[in-house]
């Protein structure tokens, strides 16, 4: 093959790519934090005995788990602003979409984790006079969360991969920076290869960390909830 590789345009545009990576991590971090809180709320609503709480939660979880994330993102970016009459930035649209979307997945993880705790734990908590909320907060969740950590890590990694979709609505994440650099320099091969490797490096590190954590948890006798 006679193609001559030239990585200099990629190197000179490194600050642009670095900024993109920071933006990628920003969207991931915000969505992860909001998704966890919202996911716990959704899970508790879904487990509730009141239908007024469990049905809407079930609806949100099902809809966001069974529609493609890119369709959700387009809906929140192009359609929602017209309904509520506010200006939507790509960053805001991405955070809203991925927070709710990952919340739907986290909710199922929370639910499985909470349900995996033996009934006796609830009974014992009630026997010493705890309310439902106290039992959940002091007895059930601390045990459940430990079992859920591997599933959480997996979802967090999925979330980071999903954030590349924001490039399609022109948010300056790492992939969008790659588009820009490759168009500017006419070096798509080098640019996209480097960017793919950056993603691989970051996500691989996260995966290895998750694997290590899972091993450590398995040794301490906690099973994995998926």
């Amino acid at each position: 093959m006679s193609y001559r590789w030239d990585f200099t345009p990629v190197v000179t545009n490194a600050p642009l790519l670095a900024e993109g990576l920071v933006n990628t991590l920003k969207v991931t971090g915000v969505s992860l934090a909001c998704g966890l809180v919202l996911g716990l709320a959704l899970a508790l609503m879904r487990l509730s005995r009141h239908r007024l709480a469990s049905w809407p939660a079930g609806f949100v979880i099902e809809v966001f788990r069974t529609t493609p994330p890119l369709v959700q993102l387009f809906w929140f970016f192009f359609a929602l602003p017209l309904i509520v009459g506010v200006e939507m930035t790509p960053f805001l649209a991405a955070c809203v979409t991925f927070s709710i979307q990952s919340a739907a997945f986290f909710a199922e993880v929370f639910r499985a984790g909470i349900q995996s705790i033996e009934r006796g734990q609830w009974d014992a908590a009630r026997a010493i006079g705890m309310t439902h909320g106290q039992a959940l907060q002091r007895i059930i969740l601390p045990q459940a969360v430990k079992r859920m950590i591997p599933a959480f890590m997996e979802r967090a990694i999925e979330l980071m991969k999903t954030t590349t979709l924001v490039a399609t609505i022109a948010y300056a994440d790492l992939l969008f920076a790659a588009n820009e650099v490759s168009q500017k320099s006419f070096r798509p091969l080098e640019t996209y290869t480097v960017v793919a490797l950056i993603y691989f490096f970051v996500i691989f590190l996260a995966s290895q960390f998750a694997r290590l954590l899972e091993l450590r948890l398995a040794r301490s006798g906690e099973s994995t909830v998926h």
Binding site: T66, T67, T164
Partner: protein
């Protein structure tokens, strides 16, 4: 704000073209992804490092990079190395299929490993070769356990097919974009697209739940 779906319904034929495009790429990626995944999964289980290492590298690389990056790589970067152009369909199918192959390879591997070693010993005792034991004894049992995970993969592939719109392949979301920009009705256009995807995927999801429940009962 007044909802007006009439402007979407006049473009039903455009949506139909999109739906066919979505199903088209879904079937290609499903077949390629799951069959290539079996090859890679068996490769990861092989005793010779000549198969095991490339298979492991393949799985690690494709599981740890975003699909959209892979699709754009195949669309914009790969043609630099090739003497011909790559169509949006080819680029998207390559990205989604290879990604699904990496994920389904892990499903196959897990399924095969879940079969008790006694089954291997039994097959060997009857004089079967490794390939025969795998085909006649191990895979039929493992496949049953893997079905829920594989249908989950199919659902993921269906959802991933929307990424093909990033390279302007004509599928449902791409047609939704077109309708929205022609009629200035993004609310109705994108809502309709979301509903269509939900209608396609919801039965598949429910079917997976059913399979999972049935499997749990029979094991």
């Amino acid at each position: 704000m007044r909802w007006d779906f009439a402007s979407v319904f006049t473009n039903t034929d455009a949506l139909l073209v999109g739906a066919i495009g979505t199903l088209h790429i879904f079937v290609i990626c499903l077949v390629l992804g799951l069959s290539l995944g079996l090859v890679v999964g068996l490769g990861r289980y092989a005793r010779t490092p000549w198969f095991r290492w490339p298979a492991t590298a393949f799985v690690e690389f494709f599981r740890n990079t975003p699909v959209l990056v892979q699709i754009l790589w195949f669309y914009f970067a790969l043609p630099m190395l090739l003497p011909f152009e790559i169509s949006p369909l080819a680029a998207a199918s390559l990205g989604i299929s290879l990604n699904s192959a990496a994920f389904s390879a892990e499903i196959y591997r897990g399924g095969i490993q879940s079969i008790e070693p006694g089954q291997w010993d039994g097959a060997r005792a009857l004089g079967m070769s490794w390939g025969q034991a795998m085909r006649r004894i191990i895979l039929p049992q493992a496949l049953k356990r893997m079905t829920p995970a594989l249908t989950n993969r199919a659902i993921e592939i269906f959802k991933m097919s929307t990424l093909a719109s990033a390279v302007a392949y004509v599928e449902l979301l791409q047609q939704g974009k077109l309708i929205a920009s022609l009629n200035y009705n993004p609310i109705e256009a994108y809502t309709t697209v979301a509903v269509i995807f939900f209608v396609f995927l919801w039965p598949m999801v429910q079917f997976t739940y059913l399979l999972e429940r049935r499997l749990r009962r029979s094991e």
